[in-house]
């Protein structure tokens, strides 16, 4: 047997990027995402988390809240389309998730249809007055709970009740201002079609939010990869590269998309 020892000086260590800017960060707890954002989401930002179905938006948003609750930040999940109990049953069984967070009130789930009912919003289209009423109710709830992190899943479903661009703009602007004034970092989940050229269903949501995180399914030579890309984030520099993600019991994991075989998609 011939044994050869070869020395190689080519070592490379993964470097953690430095935080930039003066804005305080809301550390998401999702390692890869915090690295992409150079430390986390600037606190009080309203972020549009957008993508087609099955890309992991709800899982990522929920993990953001769970990490917040574990850190002691009161977190609020507003479910628009799915019953919260059903949502919790279907969600990835995270190893770090403790139902005690819900019992202690650190993590609160609210079903928006229940809120609609209590506010008497039964018509298919909201009026401008009802928009104000809804924003006030959500902000009041967040204030009452001492919320520091909020997720609305999905903003698209709310927009269907708003119908016009003016109303959508009005609702998102008022909601994000009210939350931002209370120092709440929020994620608005947005649904788009698989081949959408815009980052939101109505084209308005993306222009108003402070940040856009795009989640997608990318096909490469017959393989379907889940990807994540930060398109914009006010208040911080950030990577604009595409990353591949996996939903695991340890949470969302991210690695860079390899470019050597990319079709350019």
């Amino acid at each position: 047997m011939k044994e050869t020892i070869i020395s190689c000086s080519h070592h490379s260590k993964r470097m953690m990027p430095q935080r930039t800017g003066d804005r305080e960060r809301c550390v998401t707890g999702i390692d890869g995402l915090d690295t992409i954002l150079y430390g986390g989401i600037p606190r009080a930002n309203t972020v549009l988390l957008t993508g087609s179905c099955g890309t992991g938006k709800t899982s990522l948003a929920l993990e953001f809240l769970i990490h917040g609750a574990i850190k002691g930040e009161n977190s609020l999940f507003i479910s628009v389309t799915e019953n919260s109990e059903k949502l919790l049953d279907n969600i990835m069984p995270y190893r770090f998730f403790d139902r005690g967070l819900i019992k202690s009130g650190k993590l609160v789930f609210v079903d928006l249809p229940v809120m609609y009912e209590r506010l008497g919003m039964t018509k298919p289209e909201m009026t401008m007055e009802e928009i104000d009423l809804l924003v006030t109710a959500i902000a009041g709830l967040a204030n009452e709970l001492g919320t520091k992190r909020l997720v609305m899943d999905s903003i698209t479903s709310v927009c269907y009740k708003l119908k016009t661009s003016e109303k959508i703009r009005d609702f998102i602007l008022k909601l994000s201002k009210a939350l931002s004034d209370m120092d709440v970092t929020s994620i608005l989940v947005s649904e788009v079609g698989a081949h959408s050229a815009t980052y939101s269903m109505f084209g308005v949501e993306e222009a108003i939010s402070d940040g856009i995180v795009l989640m997608a399914n990318m096909e490469r030579r017959g393989d379907l990869l889940r990807t994540l890309q930060v398109i914009k984030m006010r208040g911080t520099t950030h990577s604009r590269a595409k990353y591949v993600l996996d939903l695991t019991p340890m949470g969302v994991l991210l690695v860079p998309l390899l470019k050597g075989g990319s079709s350019g998609a």
Binding site: M1, T4, C8, S12, R14, L245, L253, G260
Partner: protein, 196 residues
């Protein structure tokens, strides 16, 4: 050289290396089983390490059968199986707590993600990642993407003090593959090949 000697020589050489080492281990086809014994029995088990075994050559089930026949303890070996799914043999592996499936060896990012997941899950002080083999991955991927994959994977593992062993089969290797592996590894071990 006897089979036992190959195993123990490989094990001894590996035991001399510090954590974070990236090792290119080139072998002949005939010495595959001895190398397995050297890596897992003489090295990983002796050091009490968890092993993450990325297999792109033969299924995790087949490797487990081989290891059982060699009487090697596999309780701390966790497989990332990149081959069973494309061989339509994934159903039995899905039930195996010690095996995680990647749909195809072309999904290199998913291999990285599964390795990352298993590393995070492991509570062992020291960990070993084995890539079996670079030649099999080269069948399914071009050299550019494979080189990028190795660079990112090995750099990340080295930064976390994880041992990495990249297996290559001498009879199937090319100068391009050897260069690719040498670029990311700091140590090379060659065993069971032609003399001189």
């Amino acid at each position: 050289m006897s089979d036992t000697k190959v195993s123990s020589t490989v094990g001894e050489q590996l035991l001399e290396l510090p954590p974070s080492s990236a090792i290119s281990l080139q072998m002949s086809v005939d010495s595959y089983l001895d190398v397995l014994g050297g890596m897992l029995d003489q090295f990983a088990n002796k050091k009490g390490m968890d092993t993450i075994y990325v297999t792109a050559t033969i299924s995790s089930e087949a490797i487990k059968r081989v290891l059982a026949a060699l009487d090697i303890d596999t309780s701390r070996v966790f497989f990332v199986d990149c081959i069973s799914h494309i061989m339509m043999g994934a159903s039995s592996v899905q039930q195996d707590e010690h095996a995680t499936l990647v749909e195809s060896p072309t999904m290199l990012e998913n291999i990285m993600l599964k390795v990352e997941y298993l590393i995070r899950r492991s509570e062992a002080e020291h960990k070993l990642v084995i890539i079996d083999s670079i030649n099999s991955l080269a069948i399914h991927n071009n050299n550019w993407i494979l080189s990028e994959f190795l660079h990112i994977l090995v750099s990340g593992l080295r930064a976390r003090d994880v041992y990495t062993i990249i297996l290559s089969v001498e009879e199937h290797s090319t100068p391009e593959i050897n260069n690719m592996v040498n670029l990311v590894c700091d140590t090379a071990i060659r065993t069971g090949g032609k003399e001189g």
